[in-house]
């Protein structure tokens, strides 16, 4: 059982920006979470192709990595992004929902290290990957 799972769902529910983008959280295990987001025409970055903007993907990446930190087995109280790097591999297919999976793969007393991958329906080819360092607030 993931110690902070309830807190993680609570975080997402109380986060106005997550609601604005329609993010849905699924806690998978210790330090491992996934968030999905439906396609919406207001997220489009290129009207000629209907491809969503990278900025919508970065919100998903940042949230997912942060929640992965909260869900680490050491159960941090809170976290904040120090830095985030995103690589865009290919455009997300228009009209398809996207899903980000993030893991907190290393934890120290004060810092958490995370990485994440975003896919659309085709889970064999990533849309984008990210890595980020986060602050850790403990009890």
């Amino acid at each position: 059982m993931v110690k902070n799972a309830d807190l993680a769902y609570q975080f997402i529910d109380s986060m106005p920006y997550a609601r604005a983008l329609g993010m849905r959280l699924n806690v998978l295990g210790d330090g491992l979470v996934e968030i999905s987001m439906d396609y919406d025409s207001s997220f489009v970055g290129d009207v000629n192709t209907g491809v969503i903007h990278g900025g919508a993907v970065s919100a998903l990446m940042d949230t997912c990595c942060g929640i992965a930190v909260i869900c680490h087995e050491s159960a941090p109280r809170s976290t904040a992004t120090i830095d985030l790097r995103i690589d865009y591999m290919r455009p997300a297919t228009p009209k398809q929902s996207i899903k980000t999976q993030a893991e907190c793969y290393h934890m120290t007393r004060n810092i958490a290290f995370t990485r994440a991958t975003t896919f659309d329906v085709d889970t064999s080819r990533p849309v984008a990957t990210a890595s980020g360092a986060f602050t850790v607030e403990r009890h």
Partner: protein
């Protein structure tokens, strides 16, 4: 349609404003964020008017890191596209007319984007300015910084790499 130098000079401001408007209004996600740009000559400043939907941490409250990242990326992309537009406008002085600034402009594609969060984003308006470090035929590197109440106290800065659009003939 070739135009005389006098007409061209007279229209530069109008064309620049039209081009900027077209660039920004053509992108639904920029409209979703409410980001707009203030232009002083060839320099752009991105403005992100505060909205309650941007909150990521209601306790502080603080703007969501995803909003900050998107704002920096949008500012980088529009500033770079704007620079490309100005360059093409200077190269093709005789071919500028209002129809060339419509929604057909091809935008650069983001290759990667890296953002440092220096302070938590306050629930107020934010501003950002991007600098083109290098803009070649195929790739561009752009630095971007963002602030809120105080210009020299950045709350985030970032680096963006872009794949340039095919050059128009």
């Amino acid at each position: 349609m070739p135009s005389s130098n006098a007409t061209y000079a007279h229209d530069v401001k109008k064309i620049r404003d039209l081009a900027l408007k077209a660039l920004v209004e053509d992108v639904p996600f920029i409209q979703f964020l409410g980001v707009y740009f203030e232009r002083c000559g060839d320099e752009l400043t991105g403005v992100l008017p505060y909205s309650e939907k941007f909150i990521g941490n209601p306790e502080l409250p603080a703007i969501h890191g995803g909003v900050t990242a998107a704002f920096l990326e949008v500012t980088s992309l529009i500033t770079l596209s704007w620079t490309i537009f100005l360059r093409e406008m200077n190269l093709n002085t005789n071919e500028i007319d209002n129809t060339s600034v419509g929604g057909s402009m091809r935008l650069p594609k983001t290759i990667d984007f890296s953002v440092d969060y220096l302070r938590s984003g306050l629930p107020v308006d934010a501003y950002a300015r991007a600098t083109i470090s290098r803009s070649g035929r195929r790739y561009a590197s752009v630095q971007v910084e963002a602030w809120q109440d105080t210009r020299h106290k950045l709350f985030a800065h970032g680096t963006c790499h872009f794949l340039m659009p095919e050059q128009s003939k």
